[in-house]
Symmetry: C2
Subunit: 207 residues, 2 copies
């Protein structure tokens, strides 16, 4: 009767879409469509999920008895499935929360391009930087709206948005401050061969 999410027997459970759905359902009943919307607004800074993963996840959760599908409470459209978290589902989620390790991983093509900026034409690099700066500004605005916007933000929302705001603002400030320097350096810098043998001797002595 193990209610562990995901039937894997190897490795440590990273948070997956199923847990994400369970978590969101602790906030109230919702449909798959609702969940997608929720993920791409409130959670968009640290996770992503498409229909292709949400709907199968909900079906599996229902099969495991962690959520229950209360048909359709709508008048107009017929095909709307409202999912409700069961007691088992709630405790499974809390248990997985407790067991999860605080992973925080970044996959950034932007930083990669920045690192290899000297291989690009300077105007291309400049456009690249400006695009990223503009994107950051958009995200910052969204986070500010989320933190004290119309939707009566909860303490959790304010907290997470505040974190994102701090981080994105720092990134933005750094890029704006160093923009011209970055472009100038990329122009001047030689390819600079790497010393593979001694690489990483002094740092990265962590877990």
């Amino acid at each position: 009767m193990r209610a562990s999410l995901g039937g894997r027997c190897k490795g440590i459970a990273a948070v997956n879409v199923k847990e994400l759905c369970l978590g969101a359902l602790t906030l109230g009943d919702a449909s798959g469509y609702d969940l997608k919307r929720f993920f791409e607004t409130t959670f968009n800074q640290f996770c992503a999920a498409g229909y292709g993963s949400i709907y199968p996840a909900l079906a599996e959760l229902a099969a495991e008895g962690l959520v229950r599908c209360a048909g359709n409470a709508q008048g107009g459209r017929p095909e709307r499935k409202l999912y409700h978290l069961t007691a088992a589902g709630r405790s499974a989620f809390v248990s997985s929360l407790r067991q999860s390790v605080p992973t925080h991983r970044v996959k950034s093509d932007f930083l990669l391009v920045l690192f290899f900026g000297h291989l690009l034409a300077p105007e291309h690099l400049a456009a690249f930087l400006d695009r990223r700066i503009a994107d950051l500004e958009t995200q910052i605005q969204c986070l500010q709206a989320g933190r004290h916007g119309g939707q009566a933000p909860t303490a959790s929302t304010r907290l997470v948005c505040g974190y994102g705001l701090a981080v994105q603002s720092a990134a933005h400030a750094y890029l704006v401050q160093h923009r011209d320097e970055i472009i100038a350096t990329a122009l001047a810098s030689p390819p600079a061969a790497h010393h593979w043998n001694a690489a990483g001797q002094s740092d990265a002595r962590h877990a």
Copy 2:
């Protein structure tokens, strides 16, 4: 004779391990083992790759003529394959750099747990926060070492480490400043049902 990386015909090319390897090889010849080490020191803040993806990637690149394997230049151990970037490989990498969109995606179990902190015991949440804070301090030290450490850092390395330093420091400061408040709030806050219907009406009007 298309030298596009990855034979996919759908979707936009996100930077994958093959491109990562090509990029690293612009810095000089290296083996798969060297590349792994390099990725987990200099690039560890924004990408990750294990042997299970690096070795097949190198083999494919060699088959495509983008890298050449110059056997073993070592005296002692026999089995060391040094890879060398070909002209075709270099131009393929530059071309893919030019085409790539500045993706920047974060997958954070930490923020998820933070959001659902009220479901955990306060001491558990505190331990969680402290752990993350300690991790950030370790990373900050690594980045500082990378920026002006022994290994004669290039301009690119200083740049990228500086960016990481700015971001991680901001995260660290935010968590330290709000630590007690977070725990207190988690204790006090009610589950606070979410209004699914109106969620995300005001924000997230971006590309």
